[in-house]
Symmetry: C2
Subunit: 344 residues, 2 copies
């Protein structure tokens, strides 16, 4: 079968790899119908050390179940399924608490041992715990939005939940990439009154406004902090969604939270440290978040997608087939595209 | 009147200072009957740069109202009152939310402009918002426990609340000073099933056990992390109360939280930075806490003190008059005493 393999910074190839197949009795074999390229795929695209072995890529995909192992109980052959960006058994103490990304018997797609989503088929471990059946046909027009439930929409929602967004609250979203844009959707969906996007790219800003952002701050650093304060009666915001992960964006996020507020971090931290004292400690600002338990959120978000109340699939502004994946990486890296969807 | 003034590291003196008096119409004049020396008073005792002007000390006190300004409405002359470690107007947006330490018109005792609690009398700004009337006589046997409501018991409770302690949870308290010991009380009071104290001093450990600590970990650093994991089925604890503030204790606190857990920080951070990624981000560990809004907690904690269900006053193991205050600092600094109470 064909799949995406990364061999180093900027070096993404579509190659023939061993066919995905059932190995464990809890596995399912999924034929991929849609996949995506993630902002987090760009971190190795920028900095991965050259490797002869290569690394299988992709952790957001939807597909059709082709076969299941002997112990799979709920997932059936022929099911259209969404695969969250982490696989999980659905039964351990953390899965029971809704924190599937910390599953005691789970893990992440791709790398050197597992299939990735940017390929023709995937062996899915712990199929019953991992896969979420979708009540739609394979080329349903909602596919782009459904695909975001495997990562970016779930991640934006996690940022909002971690930042304690609720009715009437003031919110800031740091970073208007696909996750930040989904954070805007999530904040509005949870009842936020004011949603300030911090970003400077025209296409992102335009989409954020359509998603419900009420204010845009394009300044950076201390100027951004001043501007957010001006927009919030000098107080700062109650909820901050940190959707980037750089030191500067994290510092900005911590600095624009008002006393008693919360920062939901979902941007994978690229730096080593964050401030221990000012401003978070003395202002009793809570820092929460991490990898989103997408598997736990699909049930909550799915009806809003199916009934058209949210349209997170609009973050995809680049589409191609598997052979175009390397150009999708290039386009996202060059910021020509917000996010790429791959149709099989 | 006489009051405590610090002139530099290790240099604490009892001196004559101008009499406290009403200045603003919202002030009250309080004659101090009990005060305490705080672990946080030891930070300048260790490191304050020599100053000719000096710094008035003390932020935990109980006293009798001697006079009130023209605009004071609820506090009356003759009231026995507790003064939280921050003063606050009780009406601003943050006070209404219960975050009195961020009061828009509040502040902290002592320093170069205000009276401190370790003196014969104090001008109390924003008297109606700040002072909490106590239904007891001036030498009631509960005075030590009541005095802890002005800081350490409220702070231990804040750590527990910030760390989301609740019925049946596993809890660790990092640091067995007066705040940590009160954290043990708070954790048990909120229903924790397992309370692990991390400390190595015999007197603190003995008291923690009486307060309900179920396990003691005297190792430090990575060994402490391993030991806490052993005590918690390899998972780590759901709630961590960080009651020290050093880099090492903060790192330990972050490292022993289980995925999805929370760290309530109340030890004033002495370092610059804390880890941005591992272990908190990938484990979705929440970092919360800061200065405790003691004023907000007194109403909740007071009945338990009055009815003897909690005895936080047992953290005082040194007592003296105002003239002995310098020796109280010395004893606490030398770790001969956990906490000092001053009777006037």
């Amino acid at each position: 079968m064909k799949a995406t393999v990364m061999y180093g910074a900027g070096d993404v190839r579509i190659e023939n790899v061993p066919d995905a197949r059932i190995i464990e009795p809890t596995d399912a074999l999924v034929i991929v119908t849609r996949a995506a390229i993630c902002g987090s795929d760009l971190w190795p695209y920028k900095g991965m050390r050259a490797s002869e072995e290569g690394r299988r890529m992709g952790h957001e995909f939807i597909g059709i179940v082709e076969a299941v192992g002997a112990d799979v109980r709920t997932i059936k052959v022929g099911d259209m399924v969404a695969a969250p960006f982490a696989w999980s058994d659905g039964t351990c103490i953390y899965c029971q608490e809704g924190l599937h990304t910390s599953c005691l018997h789970g893990g992440f797609w791709g790398g050197t041992k597992l299939d990735g989503g940017q390929g023709e088929a995937v062996r899915v471990p712990q199929a019953d715990g991992t896969l979420y059946p979708l009540p739609v046909g394979r080329d349903d027009s909602l596919m782009p939005s459904l695909l975001t439930l495997t990562d970016v929409m779930a991640t934006g929602h996690h940022a909002a939940v971690s930042a304690r967004v609720g009715p009437g609250k003031t919110v800031a979203v740091v970073g208007g990439g696909a996750v930040g844009l989904c954070g805007v959707i999530a904040a509005k969906r949870l009842g936020a009154e004011q949603v300030i996007l911090l970003d400077r790219h025209a296409s992102r800003i335009a989409l954020a406004k359509e998603f419900g952002a009420t204010d845009i701050v394009s300044e950076r650093g201390e100027e951004a902090v001043v501007r957010v304060r001006e927009l919030t009666k000098g107080l700062g915001v109650q909820s901050v969604l940190e959707c980037v992960g750089y030191d500067e964006s994290t510092l900005t996020a911590l600095s624009i939270a008002r006393p008693g507020g919360a920062v939901g971090r979902v941007g994978v931290p690229q730096g080593e440290a964050m401030p221990a004292a000012m401003p978070t400690f003395f202002n009793n600002v809570t820092i929460a978040g991490g990898p989103a338990p997408a598997r736990a959120y699909i049930a909550e978000l799915l009806p809003d997608v199916l009934e058209g109340r949210i349209e997170p699939g609009r973050v995809f502004d680049w589409a191609g087939g598997l052979d175009q994946v390397p150009d999708g990486y290039r386009a996202m890296h060059a910021r020509e595209a917000i996010k790429a969807i791959i149709a099989f």
